[in-house]
């Protein structure tokens, strides 16, 4: 299923005659892409994200092609709701069209995956900031919305939950969904972003050039440079989990690993290898001819992720 959200000359201001928070925005978000939005404080990043999430209508111009169901994680989620975390996530799943039991099941799975299952039965107004942020992320993911809009969703999450969210974003994009995000950490998903747009102080949005577009869903693969990483590991160890998407790896039974990654993702891949348990000993990193890439026997590096993926049986009605 291919779709794209298009902003045509979109402007937004909050009162007639007021200042334009955004103006003249032309932007396209296609299925299967990851878009990063940058900009200083108060430049209108959040407004742009709310327009993309279909929460606000533009004051000028048009937003076309919004998918019927979106997931949105707000910048701050002090949801003083009297519902329990599990009940809230289940309600949002139902709103996205899931049947009652499927919504409850999927909601529980997301809370578990984010490490929030301990407070599933706690009322939301009693949750700490970080726990309540986990609920905010879980409610956006339940029901598999094709478009995910994350407004600093990582802020307040603990390290494992941040890693899970990174992983989920990659999965979502690989499955053909689109993800738009703002985050103050410039390294956040840096290797995965298909495009970066910058909101300027005057409310205009410009596209950052020179970002690799290296995945399905994005325009055709460019012959961007690739790196080949050779490493030794424990004999019998499988492919390491959490490699950046676009990585192709081969593990010999003796423990020799050969990994081909796009140049932009090589740092992330090395980080993953060095941080893995059991560890990998990196022997060499070389630039590789794009043409030779096809010779490798390709194995799907995402197999580990899928086991604990929450997307499984969605049971949509």
């Amino acid at each position: 299923m291919s779709w794209a959200v298009t902003l045509d000359d979109v402007g937004r201001r909050y009162r007639a005659g007021g200042t334009w928070v955004l103006r003249g925005v032309d932007l396209e978000v296609r299925a299967g892409t990851l878009l990063r939005v940058e900009g200083g404080n108060g430049t209108g990043k959040s407004t742009l994200l709310r327009l993309l999430a279909g929460i606000e209508a533009p004051s000028a111009g048009r937003v076309r092609g919004l998918p019927g169901v979106r997931g949105y994680v707000p910048e701050r989620f002090p949801a003083a709701l009297p519902l329990t975390a599990a009940a809230y996530v289940t309600h949002l799943g139902r709103v996205r069209g899931l049947r009652g039991r499927a919504a409850a099941r999927e909601g529980t799975r997301w809370l578990e995956r984010l490490g929030a299952d301990r407070y599933a039965g706690t009322r939301m107004r009693e949750l700490s900031k970080g726990s309540s942020q986990k609920v905010a992320v879980a409610q956006a993911l339940v029901g598999r919305p094709p478009l995910l809009v994350l407004d600093e969703a990582w802020t307040g999450l603990d390290q494992p939950a941040r890693a899970v969210l990174d992983e989920v974003v990659r999965e979502r994009v690989a499955e053909g969904g689109a993800v738009v995000f703002v985050d103050h950490d410039p390294a956040r998903l840096a290797a995965d972003a298909d495009a970066v747009v910058r909101v300027a102080a005057d409310g205009r949005v410009e596209r950052d050039q020179g970002v690799p577009r290296a995945r399905a869903g994005a325009p055709p693969r460019s012959p961007a440079p690739h790196f080949r990483i050779e490493a030794w590991g424990t004999p019998g160890a499988g492919a390491p989990a959490g490699l950046p998407s676009g990585a192709r790896c081969r593990v010999a039974p003796g423990g020799a690993l050969s990994l081909t990654v796009p140049a932009a993702a090589s740092d992330a891949a090395l980080r993953t290898l060095l941080a893995a348990h059991p560890g990998w000993h990196v022997r060499s990193v070389r630039q590789e001819d794009a043409a030779r890439e096809e010779e490798h026997a390709v194995c799907e590096t995402d197999s580990v992720r899928e086991e604990n993926s929450g997307w499984g049986e969605a049971g949509r009605g």
């Binding site: 709310r50 999430a53 279909g54 929460i55 606000e56 209508a57 004051s59 019927g68 169901v69 979106r70 997931g71 949105y72 994680v73 707000p74 910048e75 701050r76 989620f77 002090p78 949801a79 003083a80 709701l81 009297p82 519902l83 009940a87 309600h91 949002l92 139902r94 709103v95 996205r96 069209g97 905010a136 409610q139 956006a140 029901g143 919305p145 809009v149």
Partner: protein, 225 residues
């Protein structure tokens, strides 16, 4: 449609657990305690119960459309659309008012006398209930319309919203063109005559008014998130 039902259910859950239904319920109970006596003619009492339900419905709709913090409202709006999310709140308020109304019809029919106002002809219970339900629903719908027009997103400041709600309620009860006044008037005329005439026309008008008001508010919801 299913999304709207799910949203209504979500808003009803928020309303129920937040206990913000308690104040409107106490208002309605107090009004009924003052205005309805055991042994009063049933149609008269039903007319009073319907009129008293109007401000209660206005309040319940206000409670429901302002129940969520902005962040949660945005999340629900992203899930299906801001208009629909708002409609969920409006519907939850109307459903809550209708539940109170149903309880009031039961109570009033149980304690009221079957006679007309002058103590004459007996009124058949079934037709009294049908006429009462019609009147109650009319007032629920008109109250919903007032609540929708006098609150977020059309009126955003709390002070103006409350003032507008009070004025709107008074206007809906006394203005000649109001379906609520027509329905309540029909019930008390029926009581005076001792013959039931079911106020269908006011009910249909109220349905139209509430629908138009909800459409207007939902259309604006995306512009004023």
């Amino acid at each position: 449609m299913r999304e709207t039902l799910a949203l209504t259910r979500y808003q009803l859950a928020v309303l129920l657990r937040s206990q913000r239904w308690l104040a409107p319920l106490l208002l309605y109970a107090a009004l009924l305690a003052v205005g309805v006596r055991a042994g009063d003619p049933v149609l008269d009492s039903l007319g009073f119960a319907a009129a008293a339900l109007l401000p209660t419905a206005v309040w319940l709709v206000r409670v429901c459309v302002t129940a969520e913090p902005a962040a949660a409202r945005h999340c629900a709006a992203a899930a299906t659309g801001p208009g629909r999310a708002h409609l969920g709140g409006v519907a939850a308020g109307a459903v809550a008012a209708a539940v109170l109304g149903a309880a009031a019809v039961g109570l009033v029919t149980a304690v009221g006398s079957r006679g007309s106002t002058d103590g004459g002809d007996a009124v058949p219970a079934a037709s009294a209930v049908v006429a009462g339900v019609c009147g109650i629903l009319t007032c629920v719908l008109v109250g919903t319309a007032v609540g929708v027009l006098c609150n977020r997103p059309l009126v955003r400041s709390r002070g103006y919203a409350v003032a507008a709600s009070v004025l709107g309620t008074v206007a809906a009860l006394v203005a000649g063109a109001s379906p609520a006044r027509a329905a309540v008037g029909a019930l008390s005329r029926a009581s005076a005559r001792g013959s039931v005439d079911v106020p269908w026309v006011p009910l249909l008008c109220a349905l139209g008014v509430a629908g138009l008001a909800a459409c207007a508010a939902c259309a604006v919801a995306a512009r004023r998130p």
